[in-house]
Symmetry: D2
Subunit: 365 residues, 4 copies
């Protein structure tokens, strides 16, 4: 009943649990002849790696990716060239403290998938959330690194734009700031606000939600397969598939509900270079499910981590009322580490549509 593959021509299958020996993915449909180094993939994994600041889980994993297939090694053993066959990527789990979870093996954490996995499967790997753990997103990030190779002209970046009720100031949005702080925050002045707020959340053993924005620049016009493979539809599907995501927007999103057709219209003029020019981008780069050539912009809301220290009313697998309190090493704001995951999902969606349109005749044209 699982369905752990996504994509139509650029196809990714992920596997693995939080506390098994390893996790990974198979990236199928990657064109041949693309060259990369391990570091090209590892750098994205390092962005989402736990234990990098006090605002994310203190679980420490090396998260070192191995390439098991789909490539031909260069003479010096430093670089790989894709051969067009499936690329198997594996990350071994190295810091598993299963005993942390013993207490909740039979309890359902409110807001967590514990209850539904038991309801569906009748068995559940309670160690670290098993398959429902955010740890699975490491495989997504590795796949996303491969996707970026497929669309080298496309620049994909992400930022955190809201934690709890604290939003960034849009007028101060600066991509250069994103790597300067532990929050992927594009607004330098918001950083201390979030820092203070999250310290408070963390010390209370609580958690809080967030909003992530991901942007793809350089997407050519014409990508998308209407009606039921629309580019925005596939982006929405993949972003919603990330753990804890409860909402997805394209362009101005829910704000579009509030305005008139005049306000919403992205007017056009011919540019001096003879190319069509949009005067605004309410559409988020997608009209009728097809890319316009403008930046593709998406946002998604991440709910607060459900593993918190404060006791909550719940039940256990035997049908008894219990109070659940989750120890272990959790993210006070899982939305932070969702930034590279959102980027990866956007990269995969665009790579898939790129190949649908350009085909896979071997070398990219």
């Amino acid at each position: 009943m699982s369905h752990n593959t996504f994509g139509h021509l650029f196809r990714v299958t992920t596997w693995g649990e939080s506390h098994g020996p390893a996790l990974g993915c198979v990236v199928d449909g990657c064109p041949p002849g693309l060259t990369f180094t391990l570091a090209d993939i590892q750098s994205f994994l390092d962005k989402r790696k736990p234990g990098q600041s006090r605002f994310v889980t203190q679980r420490r994993e090396a998260d070192e990716v191995k390439v098991l297939s789909g490539v031909f090694p260069s003479g010096d053993g430093e670089t790989y060239t894709t051969t067009g066959t499936p690329i198997s990527l594996m990350i071994e789990n190295t810091d598993q403290r299963s005993k942390d979870y013993g207490e909740i093996a039979q309890q359902y954490r409110p807001g967590h998938a514990d209850f539904t996995y038991d309801a569906k499967y009748g068995i559940r790997d309670y160690r670290g959330g098993g398959r429902s753990s955010a740890r699975e997103t490491a495989a997504r990030v590795a796949a996303g690194a491969v996707a970026r190779l497929v669309i080298p002209g496309v620049k994909i970046r992400g930022a955190l734009v809201q934690i709890g009720k604290h939003k960034i100031n849009r007028s101060r949005f600066d991509w250069d700031q994103v790597d300067q702080n532990p929050f992927f925050c594009p607004d330098a002045e918001t950083v201390p606000v979030w820092e203070a707020y999250l310290d408070e959340i963390r010390k209370a053993g609580s958690s809080v939600g967030a909003v992530v924005e991901v942007v793809a620049e350089g997407v050519p016009a014409g990508l998308g397969a209407p009606l039921y493979g629309k580019l925005d539809q596939d982006i929405a599907s993949l972003l919603m598939s990330i753990n804890a995501v409860k909402g997805v927007e394209i362009g101005n999103g829910f704000e579009a509900a509030e305005i008139t057709g005049e306000e919403n219209a992205d007017e056009m003029r011919m540019g001096n270079d003879g190319a069509p020019l949009f005067l605004s981008n309410h559409a988020g780069g997608i009209l009728g499910g097809i890319s316009t050539g403008q930046p593709v912009i998406a946002r998604f809301a991440v709910k607060p981590t459900s593993s918190i220290l404060t006791p909550r009313q719940s039940i256990d697998a035997s049908g008894h009322n219990v109070d659940v309190r989750t120890k272990g090493r959790h993210d006070p704001c899982v939305g932070i580490r969702a930034v590279p995951v959102g980027e990866a999902m956007l990269a995969c969606a665009i790579a898939d549509h790129y190949l649908r349109d350009r085909g896979q005749t071997g070398r990219l044209k």
Copy 2:
């Protein structure tokens, strides 16, 4: 490059343009032995039919559905029984005024798919928007009516909860009101507000966005195929595929970003009937991509119709600057007619997952 099918076991393929001879869908995977009358399907089509009030397009279509295959007629010719083979549903186009569109055949309406269809396909059926017309949603509604047969214990309803900046008052939400006004509005006191506002919009030749809420009650716990066939993921995908939709939420959606883990946790207790009881439903009935047994709740934002009377700057297919003003019979608030469409998409998503779990051995168990 199109991809006009959705669903994994309950599969729907739609076809047809606004101004061709007909449009329709093929519903594949419907279990055998389900009995229905034409009226069972027609009633849902009548809900989205144009021309029913001054707040929707004045185009008048009978929208009469025909069943071409997949059924065995009863002796009296009144009822059909599904045979398990593909059900072909067709709706003939009867009120096409192609000449209304002649002027914009070469122009790109800002905010419309005109530009992107040309960018992708190099040819475009400009008559009424062709395939990108909201008219295609008639086929979705017909498919949704069949989906409801598959999940008879599930009650699916929709309502409009926001037009422009005017939201309903949640404390007055009353499903019984929804059919009492031309807006599918669940709050009687909001009706006159919307009426006055939309009259103004309509007279100005303008348009405005809206938010639709759809709810499924009676969904059994355990539906959903994590990780990449999550129930919320598939719902998000299908809602985002509806024309003009720019955002999708499940449960408390973007509000989840603003609150803490304590606030967001849907606590549980064993009910007096020995069944698990949730004390709240921030999750919108889905945890970890799997249904909880609570009502499944989704919302989606519909942007304002891009066809407006006010001239907007744009370009034409030859690369000249033009001012576009769209005549024709358009919806001042296309979100209204999106209500039955959203219901249909939710029904299809749930029916698909129902069959994935229950299988299709012939008769539903």
Copy 3:
């Protein structure tokens, strides 16, 4: 539980029963900008049309195809141009004599799908075989005609090479003969043999099997998606999906089991034109699941029609022993009419892989 779609990028969904109001298909993924006339499609349907000789069913259907969507009509109304949106093709059923089948409504014809459809679905459209009727292949042929538009450089032809134990003489194989006789026979001297034999079969109310060969010339090297979308795999799948087919071969097929590696090797030399030259084609144009550039050659075995006049032992739906004798207008050798169907399936498989490799960016490159 049905699954009436095939193809990955060139996707065909068929629908319809033998005795419903109509049958048809939706061809999805056809690139835009291809021009055709109704006659381009109709000519292939006419090849498989019943009633053309005494050796096929005497059922008479006009089998006139209608194009309901996916095209833009030319000014003169004679030609259509594809728009990249789904092409809906419909053929109305006009000569249904349901009463012919009344007697076997409750009986299971040995060798027919009657028993299994009842076993699976618990309900069955017994009129003319319903969905399991060879009549469904009309939709395949229509789809195949569209597939040919996608691969204009590829020439696809079929011939009957065996009826019962009577095989053609390979040394006399002449494509020009195929249209000169009612059997699609490429060997003029075999025609009278088959004629005499089939007259005998027909008069006895019996039926007999046949072998069809289909060939695609001009297929570029490099088509096929190993490992599980191999070109030969997809051809085998589609040929096996044709009613009554029990075996499929590529190239020398089962003969390959009998020979040595030396004999089977298709040796190569560089041709005078600087292109690789194969000295033989045991492989049938496919190695490792990928086309070699040589003609793609496939054969399939069609079993004898199960509807025969001779009584056979069987049971009925109530579990009683009965003797079944099928009246009605059946094909003494359904393999004859399978020739254009096999061609269509080969065309669809190649078109699908052509698009996978070339992509669907709008206009074919």
Copy 4:
């Protein structure tokens, strides 16, 4: 451009090359709650393991399978229980002699995928055939072992029924013989014939083709998804996807072309137990694409290994004429080791359809 996944609900993705660090598969959609030991999987891998007799490749691989995900270990660490999440199986490559292949890195072996992989991808892992190596079938066999868990009531067996022109004597077919000789031969008297013949082939550095028969007993009536997910269609597709397979038959296969409807009809009677009884099985257990409840019988032809010692004319990647002679450790009759692979493919096809019909609600019903 690869497509390395098969199955609709029971989905298998394979990855890996002959000479990379490892190969494996991800089995997705396996129901939860199934218990197995490593030996349950290993035993099938051992059947196809190289180096077991002088009639197969002398390459020696331990072929030890590891289970990386999708299971919950028992307390004693001996048994695993499936959790419904994807099962990742890995086999490390341990006996790689890449230098054996250096000479043919730039040459195209006639009858091998060398030429087509280069034609398609422009790059090729020439070491041991890379992805086109029969070594990939180890992953299939591992997946097949999991498939058998899903359908415990179904008994799947295979046998070699023909090597070169030497066929078994059907009247002596005895399943008990199959494991008594290195050929999976069901006819004791044929064993010495094959032995002498293959010794001759082996000493000549030649190779020869074969025919494999696979049978599934205990398949319930009603499996299959007509029209384009017919059970026989899916079996044909998977058998044809095995390396070197050139033909596939169901039931009496090509023989069906030679006989009359009377001869081919599988007559029925009600059995003494009140169940339908077939008096013969020409259909091979499938009618109209749906299982009848009789044994499902398929055969496939395997061509001779293309890697032979006898020099053959060919070309190299630079376009020069060369004579190719393949050293290395190859199978004189690769059809022998195809027996467990064919069994695995049949198991996967049936498991997939079993789940489509029964669903995946957690525990198998």
